[in-house]
């Protein structure tokens, strides 16, 4: 009996995508061809199922349709012999495609490691992950990243060529390899989240919500990697950040900084889930950059009012983060936290030191931070100058508007 189509069927279809892909890739010993065929099967499902209802065995349907595409392709292909020769050249040993189907989490995991292969550029890894693991269509991914569909299709096809050339086998990496390559996988998911979170304005209007998609994929990664608390830490970070989404922009889509947000709009269920995940992850005793960032987000989320924020704890966490993953942005945030604990003069002192090191050259954030600290000190004129300097250097339109508005506000209040 076909089932009527609804949002749940669409979710199910997307969840089945990596499993169908795993099955077809194993059967035909060709990841690239399988990935294309499953994409076509998904498109067919998206076209047919809403009208005709979902089939009784949707996974079997997808595998069958995708397999037929591959065999049809081989039969109908004029350059068949050439393709076979190529397949023979590239075909890995049969042992690379174990016939015994692993569990479904294994398939997701194999695909995540495959799509976030070190041979790929970040943008190709992102595109391929969203398609192969996320079950998204090329058109959806292209629309989310505001590039033409042909460009995205080309990126995905090149990604698969690189994987093929690298000779990566379609199997789960060894535990040692997994530990080594996990940061790359988590980084790709983190970037997908950031893109979605940054570009969304409060309400969830788009059909494809990259932040939600990243949360879904991070959930898969966490379930498949129970021994790796950083996977749980990343999911916690996403939830604890995403929880503030509705409060982050005003009616005109203008940015609202953390200390001005209406905290009643925060999603407290999401915060609770993030906090629970984070404490379970921290209890495993292998702290890393995502757990620390999640812990910082948690301290903000737990403050009922901005003035209740435990900045001492945030400063201590940034101090740890500086050691675990040093970098200019972390150093800058450390300076902000230090200013909140020890006063703006301390923040400016740290900022001066950072600028002497030169690691923040050409970046607008130090100017924005300095402007803020100068304003706290009551140095309105210099604050205005630094807000303007930051506005001139940012590449973000909403942030530029925000910084210009800060300068204008100070200008008017001084008159």
């Amino acid at each position: 009996m076909p089932k009527p189509w609804d949002d749940a069927s669409e979710r199910l279809l997307r969840e089945l995508a990596p499993r169908a892909l795993g099955a077809v890739a194993r059967r035909f010993h060709d990841f690239a061809a399988a990935e294309d065929a499953v994409q076509e099967a998904l498109l067919a499902a998206f076209t047919q199922w809403p009208g005709e209802g979902s089939p009784e065995h949707p996974l079997a349907w997808l595998i069958q349709v995708a397999s037929r595409r591959i065999t049809d392709g081989i039969r109908g292909d004029a350059a068949r012999r050439e393709r076979e020769a190529e397949a023979a050249r590239f075909n890995p040993a049969a042992s690379w495609f174990p016939e015994a189907p692993p569990s479904e989490t294994d398939d997701t995991l194999i695909l995540l490691f495959m799509c976030c292969h070190p041979a790929l550029t970040t943008s190709s890894a992102i595109a391929l992950t969203l398609r192969a693991v996320g079950g998204l269509t090329t058109a959806e991914i292209a629309a989310a990243y505001l590039v033409p569909e042909a460009t995205m299709a080309q990126r995905i096809s090149r990604a698969k060529q690189s994987i093929r050339a690298s000779g990566a086998p379609f199997r789960l990496p060894s535990p040692a390899e997994r530990a080594e390559r996990l940061p790359a996988v988590l980084h790709v998911l983190y970037l997908i989240f950031n893109e979605g979170y940054a570009s969304s304005a409060g309400k969830r209007l788009q059909r494809l919500d990259l932040a939600q998609e990243a949360i879904r994929l991070a959930r898969c990664a966490k379930d498949a990697l129970p021994g790796h608390p950083e996977a749980a830490g990343l999911l916690a970070l996403m939830l604890l950040t995403d929880a503030r989404r509705a409060a982050r922009t005003g009616p005109g889509e203008e940015l609202i900084p953390l200390n001005k947000q209406d905290r009643a709009l925060w999603d407290h269920a999401e915060i609770a889930e993030g906090l629970a995940l984070l404490s379970a992850a921290l209890a495993q005793g292998a702290v890393g950059t995502y757990q620390l960032q999640a812990a910082i987000a948690a301290v903000h989320d737990e403050a009922p009012r901005p003035e209740d924020t435990d900045w001492r704890q945030i400063l201590a966490l940034y101090d740890l983060l500086k050691r675990v993953s040093p970098g200019p942005v972390v150093a800058l945030n450390y300076a902000v936290a230090a200013a909140m604990v020890h006063g703006p003069a301390k923040g400016i002192e740290l900022l001066d030191a950072l600028e002497r090191e030169g690691s923040l050259a050409e970046h607008h954030r130090p100017d924005a931070v300095r402007a803020h600290l100068l304003e706290m000190l009551g140095d309105r004129q210099n604050a205005i100058e630094h807000y303007r300097a930051a506005a001139a250097r940012t590449n973000s339109l909403p942030e530029r508007n925000y910084l210009m508005a800060q300068a204008a506000r100070l200008e008017e209040s001084s008159g």
Partner: protein, 130 residues
């Protein structure tokens, strides 16, 4: 990250470049192959060439928003000849593409080394702000 690469070469009234046919063809083929490579690499977002400045009009709103057009004047300035919008991994990659466009061959097959202005396209804000 997206960049717009702008080729500012034409001058109003300068007309169609007076190059030998073979040089003209080499120039066109060079630009075509650049475009093909950007498409192939999955970096091309858009690329357009613009009509010669002879067809450009300066438009201002008159009373009631009625458009008032004016010709452009030969002495004014350089004109945009065309642009690319590319989506690249690093600014350095955008500059490399710009340099390749800059080196397009001109008369005698010599590289023109024309100035290409590379500017970031505004993007979404970072996830967290002070």
């Amino acid at each position: 990250m997206k960049y717009m690469l702008m080729m500012n070469t034409m001058r109003a009234g300068q007309g169609v470049p007076n190059w030998p046919q073979k040089d003209l063809q080499a120039h066109i083929a060079y630009m075509k192959s650049l475009r093909g490579d950007l498409r192939e690499s999955g970096e091309l977002v858009a690329a357009e060439g613009l009509a010669f400045p002879d067809q450009a009009k300066l438009v201002r709103a008159g009373a009631g928003g009625i458009p008032i057009t004016d010709g452009v004047f030969p002495e004014t300035k350089e004109f945009l000849a065309g642009f690319w919008i590319v989506d690249v991994e690093t600014p350095e990659r955008a500059y490399a593409i710009a340099a390749r466009a800059s080196a397009a061959p001109g008369p005698g097959g010599e590289p023109l080394n024309m100035p290409i202005e590379a500017r970031p396209v505004m993007s979404a804000p970072p996830p967290e702000m002070l």
